[in-house]
Symmetry: D2
Subunit: 428 residues, 4 copies
């Protein structure tokens, strides 16, 4: 980052747009909807709205605002997610009990911080450190925007009334094209962020990896294909599963994706638009790593490594139409057009972005030479590098402008409430 | 109950008054407050409002209303508490996730059922069965009114902002009078409801018990007295505790009542009016059976049996001023004036009613000859007769007109979120 | 107890006999069998052998032996069961990890303490305090003798090889006679130990209770009768169960007694003689309180209270032939002949003793005026008086001379590994 | 493997030597010691002795022996560890309850299978398939030999008597030399087994990886160095820990290695020779991944990846003196002499083998092109490739001849009962 940056209008505009988008996500929801927490992994919408604001207040306003005073002294603890360096934290599983402050106060908190941020940024003379922190804060808020959608989906799915988040009509997906394999030669490739645009610390440093020859599937696995796995007793065949995954599905008595509902001979899926007939052409989503891995084994393939995925996605500049609408999830096969190879439609990879995060075989670990930032902000990524798997791409719930080929998302192997799907690979 | 009762205006008035009171309890609370659930033992206010309505709809309207149609078919499951005879139930620990139906819909449900009840009752010709069910329904709703206050208190206590349910000023309690002992001679006594007024099935049949000579304390144990127990290492002395109680306080690292907060050398207590200085003169409340039992042992006494308590309370006709206000909890020493013995103030028992439920040594068990009612309504009391202790009297949160000497309240030995205190007894 | 007792030869003989009996129980078992622990509620045989010895060493030798030195200083902690007054305890769930000291050392410990006890007792001049402690120690060891048999049965039942503790032949039980009801009039009765012979503190003081009129079943419920309960969907009918019991059988997926095995259309039962065909005429054993209570409700009856049971058993002086052999469990209908009424066989209660402990409706609580002994020995009974149910009578595994009409055994409502059965009662 | 191998005398000799070694490990132990199980992760010695025998019976004798009959039909289930393809398994946490079969029967089982194996192998004409399975069986048994030592150490450590497995005298370790860094240049390296000697399937296929420049520590971290980490509040500094590791040490209240005991100002360590003064010069062992990772961060370094480790160890042909004796653990700095570079002592890596397994940063995952074997034997390695970390090298408890540079050991990040230590690395 340049050291003496005058914050560009662009950055200010992006600040306002991102902040507005969070409020928009909350708009279809009642105060009650915004307060409830369906599991420790998820957070209430209100908490997301406050925590993303706390981030700007704590990491930008507090060190840089003259005569800084917090909006509310207790918020420092209430809306700290996991930064030990900042001090105490409110216990995560109890976030749903925070009926106070009410939603109205949290929205006032947002407005208050937004105004102070506008003043600070407009004052000019801000140095690059603020710009850098602002970038982190915006991407941080975008991450929470995706979580808001997945968390509220999970919460609504627990309600026997099966309420819809959105009232928009459900549109059938297009017919999925045949899947084919794109081959890649062995060789040394470069992985990680080039550093000319924003990226998180976990994408750095850019470094070399040797990738043996492999092939990648041209598109994601569909609901219909996954249904064939279920129908051929996939959930009852131990040889298809990692040992830990097998124990997990037995303990939880699991036999289908989390949001699927069997309805006699037919299947339905709980969506952000409520309960809908299962569309066989859309990409299967909301799978755990264990389910994705078992499917791949059943299909005679495997999941890609993150290096394979990033190498294959390199040069892909068309991220598809922005996923304006999570309800559209999976209705589109766009994304992933290979700019170097655009006349060879046979060979392009579809749905790299904008449909479903793609589980990889790679555990989340630091790149060689990785260094976390100093101070509390350095607790952002590195300390989660154990017992999680990397996912690549982006989903229909990922905000526009948030995805890139070097992006490393990560979740535990049992996580199912994200829009997570399967892209197959195989060694060639 | 008379078989052919014409519902008196009194009963109708009581129906309206009880129903109104539930809404009043919810009034100081936001939609968010009404939706949250702080532990599986507690329920959201909204759920209480709906469940008490479900009770009238299911047990009175459904069998007696012509062309009965439920307000909402799903409510039969959502708001069934534990009646297996009615069908499926929504899992109790997930009641806090019912952000839908919204509070407004539940209030509409209440109005709708109230109107249908009014019509049914006004139609006359109602037989005694309806009157009997209506009585049960009203007392059932009063029980939930007390739970609404204790549940919301627990939920607010989990919030670091320590919000007050009521904004009324905190009034210091009067100085507690000296405690003295009232003696009772051994003999056969009659226990249980006489049956001329309403009572629950668990108070029947009235039967004989032999009670050895005993003495009862004239008033409840105060906060100040309980503090002396803490200060003399009561929570660190295993010989004072039942074995199970000792394991329980060790496992939970407990060393004080649930709502007490140590503030340097001083103590505070979380109340329905927020955090307040601990008043040494008020009765200690929110104790588990284990804490009450350990205190009694430390004090060289014991808890009374329920037969002793009921015998001692017999003839007590002055229930004190109605506990209009839970905030007033413990500020009054009223109640329990012995009508047979009114000129002997030395000998009267105070605080029998309206201050705090009083743990007894008696496990909750059926009286000899006990019979549950037939059908689902029979699941009201009998099936909970295991591993719970009987509490007698009533608390500051008990609705007016709900208490009586034969009343048997019951909770597990570890329950702390009710207004539960200590009356000492000893064998003489 | 007389204050200046010279220990009679009888008491010395009983000391030797009881000590010998413990070793005999261990004789059919290997070192490995004696070391394993199948659940936290049970203890290894070796631990029982050591703990009963520790009791004499700690409570008799330590205070009364001149120049007392413990056999092994670490045994004070290792073999303390629950006496906080004695000091630290080894964690109960880890008793099965005590492969050291080896069984041989524990047997040497027993011999060593026995010799020192013999010397102390033979030295004469022992006062009544020692005699009283010795009595407690002997009854304590007899309690552990019964636990040795039930604990080893549970441990062997977990082994897929289904090993038999005893190799003796399995004898079919006699045909059970018809059950009839014996009626008892209402009235004040005396309950508790008269105090001329040994009893535990929990049987004191003898006191009065009023018992309403009731009837008791002439014999215990048989396997065949319990099978009818199972066959009529007893385990699938919630209205038969206490709420807590219903939750418990659902959580554990329970549908039959713990040692029953379904074998196609037939049933087998795991016994101390290995797996055997279920004998429909023997008393059903190894039931939890919840199962006993549900059966009684299904049978249109109820469990007796402990006062009813003790009143009904009063005057019964024939405890049946000593249950020399637990393998004979249930093969005999003896016991309980009423000495006052011996010419009315119609009216006698059978199987009061020597077949199966009989669950009562009564929670384990102190008698009015109960006082625990001072010091660590006072931790014997009183501190367990919560959330347990009283059982009366004795079982086929109870040592000869250990049972009496006022005896109060107690276990939690879910305990199934004791020889626990059902005697029905009803209010008349 | 050659297809038509005549089993060489060498292989037969190795079979006998490996089988004998297992019995030798059990020799210092009593029947009771061999039966107990201290945690679900560990197994009883007797179970190890039986399971390693079951492996030969099931995978070699059953398919290849004429008129095969199992030694005992129930052993197929009892001693199956995790092979779903073989059928049912006895629950792992209940292995300590298998007091039957007694140890003597398991030793007879060993002799019986050994004799049948001898006959089968001596019959000649055995094809390469048998030789391959025999190799797997021998290496499998060697893995269990190491587990026997670590499992029995854990079990004995739970005993307050702190019994020693071995009675041999405790020898002080030599003074640890200064640690220095050996640098390695970036480049493509080959990783995995070359395939001319035996290796497990998880070491295949040999493949290329690009390794950025790095440095490796010349020796393992010592107890003394780890003590400095403790003394500088390492266990109380959240920024040193992975988030999951921090939660884990807080939940378990952990502040030191599992076998360390603080003794006033001094430290002791529980060893196979009982409790001993902590030797500051020996390598620290029995660390979890989380502890190793936190130490490395504190020391300004990191753990190596498995590719870095294997690359650095390449060419190292001197595995040190065989670790005949686990008691000698850490007393020797041998191992890891670089044969290519033997005149440059400055540059050699010590303690690569024979001291302590070395945690790597690498999650356990399949190599590109990995294929599990067909059938039940294929359940050996691949199905455990989730949420475990790779360890490299070998420990003082690893049998002679079992270690190699491409060997991939793996355990969950919280495992502490293995001889696991730290070799530091850093990016250069």
């Amino acid at each position: 980052m340049p050291d003496d940056l005058n914050l560009s209008a662009t950055l200010l505009d992006r600040f306002r747009a991102v902040r507005r988008r969070s409020r928009e996500i909350a708009e279809p929801l009642s105060d009650e909807d915004c307060c409830a927490q369906s599991m420790p992994d998820a957070s209430p919408i209100k908490w997301h709205l406050a925590h993303t604001t706390w981030f700007f207040e704590t990491f930008i306003l507090e060190p840089h605002e003259k005569d800084f005073k917090p909006f509310h002294p207790a918020f420092r603890v209430l809306f700290n997610s996991y930064y030990n360096g900042v001090g105490d934290k409110h216990p995560r599983p109890q976030r749903g009990l925070l009926t106070r402050p009410p939603l109205a106060d949290v929205l006032a908190y947002r407005r208050h911080v937004d105004e102070r941020m506008n003043m600070l940024l407009a004052a000019g003379g801000t140095d690059g450190r603020i710009a850098a922190l602002l970038e982190v804060g915006l991407h941080h808020e975008q991450q929470h925007q995706e979580l808001m959608l997945t968390d509220v989906k999970h919460m609504l799915s627990m309600n026997p009334l099966e309420p819809a988040y959105l009232q928009t009509p459900w549109m059938p997906g297009r017919v999925a094209p045949d899947m084919h394999w794109r081959r890649f030669e062995a060789g040394v490739v470069e992985i990680g962020c080039k550093g000319d645009d924003f990226c998180f610390d976990n994408e750095l440093p850019r470094h070399r990896q040797f990738v043996e020859g492999f092939a990648m599937a041209s598109r994601l696995v569909t609901n219909g294909e996954y249904l064939a796995f279920i129908d051929s007793s996939g959930y009852a065949t131990p040889s298809l599963w990692l040992s830990e995954g097998w124990d997990w599905i037995r303990a939880g008595n699991l036999s289908q994706p989390i949001y699927w509902r069997r309805d006699g001979d037919a299947w339905q899926e709980f969506t952000l638009q409520g309960l809908q007939a299962l569309d066989p052409h859309r990409p299967v989503t909301h799978l755990s790593f264990f389910e994705a891995d078992a499917y791949a084994r059943w299909a005679g393939a495997r999941l890609p490594t993150e290096a394979e995925w990033e190498h294959a996605a390199r040069g892909c500049t068309d991220f598809g139409r922005p996923a304006l609408h999570p309800a559209a999830c999976g209705s589109d096969h766009g994304g992933g057009k290979d700019s170097n190879d655009s006349n060879d439609s046979q060979d392009s990879l579809m749905q790299l972005f904008g449909s479903a995060w793609q589980w990889t075989l790679s555990s989340y670990a630091p790149y060689p030479g990785y260094r976390a930032a100093d101070g509390a902000i350095g607790e952002y990524n590195g300390k989660f590098m154990s017992n999680q798997y990397v996912l690549r791409g982006s989903s229909c719930a990922t905000p526009e402008g948030h995805a890139r080929a070097s992006y490393r998302n990560f979740f535990p192997a049992t996580a199912r409430w994200q829009f997570t799907g399967i892209r197959l690979a195989r060694s060639s």
